[in-house]
Symmetry: C2
Subunit: 403 residues, 2 copies
């Protein structure tokens, strides 16, 4: 069996932890598997390098940033290979150009395009554990690029796809995917399996176990993902195509506080005005999330939507500046909001899910604002200070069914 | 004009120093020159990385060491390029594989074989300052290698040769090459010019301004080297082919305390025994230096030689173990010795030089042991605790002629 094992920065933060990870990988290798290990930079290394760069310039050159940051993973892979060799196991470290991992040319936010398999295959064939730098690639100019947020997870999945690995194991500081945040909902249940789609919904809802990019890629190339704890030997959660999971009504509850609400009143009531507004925000890289539109008695339109909280002020400012295309609009912002969502393959086929969710919220006296649904998700916007309570009551209402 | 400017680790030890170096390079660029900058790792970075590796293993994998250490220069070149860009000057950093710099495959002690000029030329043509990692290369396996001691200087000279640069400036913490160590001989004189040959003798004599490898390479490819201070605007010392320098009797005095003396008595008096001894040491990477051989009355031979001090014990042990090839020999070691040497193109053509040197030592009551000479050097082995005094008296004896 060929396994890709990915460990994040906190799992390789010091030499002691590197030794633990090495032992774990060696165990798998000794069981007769071929092993590719993908690593992030050690602990706070990347933050330290970013800090230095920001002492030089507020907006350092993006190309040079990638040249700088990519050293972090090279340090962790070489120390890891050294550690394995010291333990008497053949191992070799490879960076992005040695592999090579080809990306688009966008510095700091590159996308993987193609991974050459020859070098890795050669090293696997000679029975070595291959330790590869996550998060980085090279572009067509032979420049170093980095993959942006969730980059190392994406590297691991892409490698698993390219090498046709049997499994891609993502080791984190939690031991799997839970039906709700276990720090808030004590009786949250660890899921044995979850579908790609559910995982995507969880990620977009702020349960940040895996980045969407990596789940998307796993789905596209049908890579079997396992989320596991780097601390324990627990089984973890398998992320894969839906099979026997249909019977499960919902698989989990998530909240997201990193949102803000913007209301735009007094828009002209024509189809174009909504499009113009969305277009304006998209051009500036801002995605809107839950959206409702209502027609007022005076013939104007009111548009309300949520947006990532850090984007709120900039979005409001943009909309003010473009009164010409939007009409004479009135803009108001609200920061103290949150989303609570239930996710599960059974949502669309079971009309009772929504009723159950809103009953639970209503019983707890939690008011809901906007509501939106997808095939496998129901989301309500609520007050921020009620987010934890909402998660708890909704989770408990469904929990009985998991027993 | 195309200039290669090389700065060592202490010149780029922090962001402030990086800014100073950037200003210096930009000044040269603004004067209408093309500029290639070669950098070592920042300050103690390399030592820090070596320290980590040695916590993992006493003898860490050499391949992985190079993978680890090469990150050091990549950090300094990217921070340097960022700094220049922030100052509004086009700049780009390149590491060894981007250039590419091809080396032999010997990790930790690779030799440069060939440097591709295409990428650097392209960047120079687009008017950029090109900032290149010193000390590192890639081998035929696409593995990272490092060049060993004096590596960054060698990178700079090799780049100057490959790019046909007009000058290769090596910036150090001294402002040139002196006729003796100015910390020991207060009236030591900074030389304006020195030949490659003299520079080579100085380096081998422990005056470590430039490593021999870099001087050898400069001589072979006729690269004009300038040794300058990174702190001041002083002129520095030019290292080049001998031209008008013949009239100078000697150019400097150097001492070397990093030696030990080994005496091997009772060797068989045949030509082979000496060869066998030298061969034995060479096979273990130990070079002997000054050597004398004398025939004893009992028909045996005594061989006395100096060797790098850290090699002494190992050399003595080796010789003891091989009594079979050397005969029943008697080995004695002496650590408290040093060499004092005068160097200069006029040495061989002026028999008076040796006389003057030994007269100065004799006047000061300094006893000389073994003596050896080359075309441009006279070396005497003396007691270690007299090394500074010897340097001073010999230097003063010749100093009058420089006025």
């Amino acid at each position: 069996m060929l396994a890709v094992m990915k460990f994040g920065g906190s799992s390789v933060a010091d030499l002691e932890k590197i030794r633990n990870v090495a032992e774990r990988c060696i165990k798998k290798w000794k069981e007769g598997n071929q092993v590719i290990v993908v690593l992030s930079a050690m602990g706070k290394t990347t933050d330290g390098l970013i800090g230095q760069a920001h002492q030089i310039a507020d907006m350092p050159s993006r190309r040079e940033m990638d040249m700088l940051l990519s050293t972090g993973e090279q340090v962790s892979v070489s120390l890891m290979a050294m550690t394995m060799l010291k333990m008497g196991v053949p191992a070799i470290s490879l960076n992005a150009w040695q592999v090579a991992m080809h990306t688009t040319s966008a510095y700091q936010n590159a996308k993987l395009k193609r991974i050459d398999t020859e070098r890795i295959q050669k090293e696997l064939d000679s029975n070595k554990i291959v330790v590869v730098t996550g998060f980085q690639g090279i572009n067509k100019y032979d420049d170093v690029t980095t993959l942006g947020r969730g980059g190392s997870d994406t590297t691991a999945v892409a490698l698993a796809a390219a090498m046709n690995a049997d499994v891609c194991e993502i080791y984190t500081d939690v031991d799997g995917v839970y039906s709700a945040d276990p720090r808030i909902v004590p009786n949250a249940r660890k899921m044995d399996e979850v579908t790609y789609e559910e995982m995507l919904e969880f990620a977009s809802l702020g349960a940040k176990v895996l980045h969407n990019r990596c789940v998307e890629m796993a789905r596209r190339y049908n890579v079997k993902l396992v989320v596991k704890s780097s601390m324990s030997e627990e089984e973890g959660t398998v992320v894969k195509e839906s099979t026997k999971m249909e019977k499960m009504l919902i698989s989990g509850v998530a909240t997201d506080k990193n949102i803000a609400k913007i209301t735009v009143a007094g828009m002209k009531d024509d189809p174009e005005s909504t499009f113009r507004l969305l277009n304006l925000l998209a051009k500036h890289g801002m995605n809107i999330d839950v959206m409702i539109q209502s027609l007022e008695k005076d013939g104007t339109k009111t548009l309300t939507f949520t947006i990532a909280r850090p984007d709120m002020l900039m979005a409001a400012e943009l909309l003010k500046q473009h009164g010409d295309v939007l009409g004479r609009v009135d803009i108001s912002c609200e920061e103290d909001v949150a989303k609570v969502s239930v996710v599960g393959a059974g949502v669309s086929s079971n009309p009772g899910v929504a009723a159950k969710m809103f009953e639970a919220l209503s019983d707890a006296g939690i008011n809901t604002d906007m509501i939106t649904t997808s095939e496998i998700r129901i989301t309500a916007v609520i007050a921020e200070d009620e987010a934890e309570a909402a998660m708890r009551v909704v989770h408990d209402r469904f929990a009985a069914e998991w027993e």
